[in-house]
């Protein structure tokens, strides 16, 4: 058997990754890129992170081993941790992750990626209507079962129509799926021209 590996350049190092590890690496870097949205210097930080991944994986390789697998990459990424924006300006109080009505923010119906499970529709609705997000998720799940899956269409429709709330520095981290769906829906929205013109999210 021959294992096919991908050669990856990580900043100043070049390593071989198997398919699973390569996919996980791409996911981590995409996630980091989206978390660095708004940072003035994302390239530098990404280069540093790439080097950190390369160093950590190299350290974990057994003497004869040449290809990085998930067995090395997963603990390496665990040790590096996901990207956290540095605390800027006044320290905002750590709000509970979900369903915190924010008095100061204007009430607009938006999807909230930070702390979301799928795309942030429920979290957005919960903020807008000042409801408990868990309750809303339970109701959605029940409707999903009760309507034989028709809720999926409703959810997809809302995903497309509800704009995404701008990311808050120091907010809850974005999970993998909401991160992906945010990127994809933003892309789709531009393609379909759903975006309200003139609305720039900082």
């Amino acid at each position: 058997m021959q294992r096919i590996a991908t050669t990856v350049r990580l900043n100043r190092s070049v390593l071989q990754f198997d398919d699973a590890a390569n996919a996980r690496l791409e996911q981590y870097l995409a996630e980091s890129t989206s978390l660095l949205e708004g940072d003035p210097d994302p390239q530098e930080i990404l280069a540093d992170l790439e080097q950190a991944v390369a160093d950590q994986c190299t350290r974990r390789l057994r003497p004869e081993q040449t290809v990085v697998t998930l067995a090395e990459l997963a603990p390496a990424l665990e040790e590096i941790g996901s990207v956290q924006a540095p605390g800027n300006g006044p320290v905002s109080p750590a709000t509970p992750r979900e369903a915190t009505p924010r008095e100061a923010t204007p009430r607009s119906l938006q999807q909230v990626s930070q702390g979301a499970v799928i795309s942030g529709v429920c979290l957005g609705l919960a903020r807008y209507f000042r409801l408990d997000v868990t309750l809303l998720r339970v109701i959605s799940a029940l409707l999903l079962l009760g309507t034989g899956g028709a809720m999926v269409l409703v959810y997809l429709g809302l995903m497309l129509l509800m704009p995404y709330a701008p990311l808050e520095p120091g907010g809850a981290p974005i999970r993998w799926l909401p991160g992906k769906s945010r990127v994809f829906m933003e892309f789709l929205r531009v393609k379909l021209g759903v975006d309200r013109p003139g609305k720039i999210v900082a």
Binding site: S32, D48, E79, G81
Partner: protein
């Protein structure tokens, strides 16, 4: 709100101060900084440290230089700039002041 959720933002704010202190002693690379913070309340990860160092560099508080290493590619060694040293001194002084103020209350 639990005590922990009030302490987390304080730690987050102080991390920057601590990193300046560590970098101020001698020029270090990131694994050195992580090792010094490990086991303290400020134990952190590269995912947190790199964005922070990038911000400090933009604010001209730290700068880095590449140094060859025996194993692997060259490493970035960070050190304080003059501005960084001045800001660290100011932070240190303010921190002592706050501590004295806090200690003086509640007796």
């Amino acid at each position: 709100m639990t005590a922990e959720s009030k302490l987390a933002p304080i730690r987050k704010g102080l991390l920057e101060f601590l990193v300046l202190k560590i970098v101020g002693v001698k020029s270090v690379y990131v694994p050195d900084i992580l090792r010094q913070l490990a086991g303290t309340e400020f134990s952190t990860q590269e995912g947190t440290l790199y964005p922070l160092l990038s911000k400090l560099r933009r604010e001209d508080l730290v700068q880095y230089e590449w140094k060859e290493s025996d194993a692997g590619p060259p490493r970035k060694y960070y050190r304080l700039t003059d501005t960084g040293r001045a800001q660290l001194a100011a932070l240190d002084e303010y921190w002592n002041l706050i501590n004295r103020t806090i200690a003086n209350f509640g007796h």
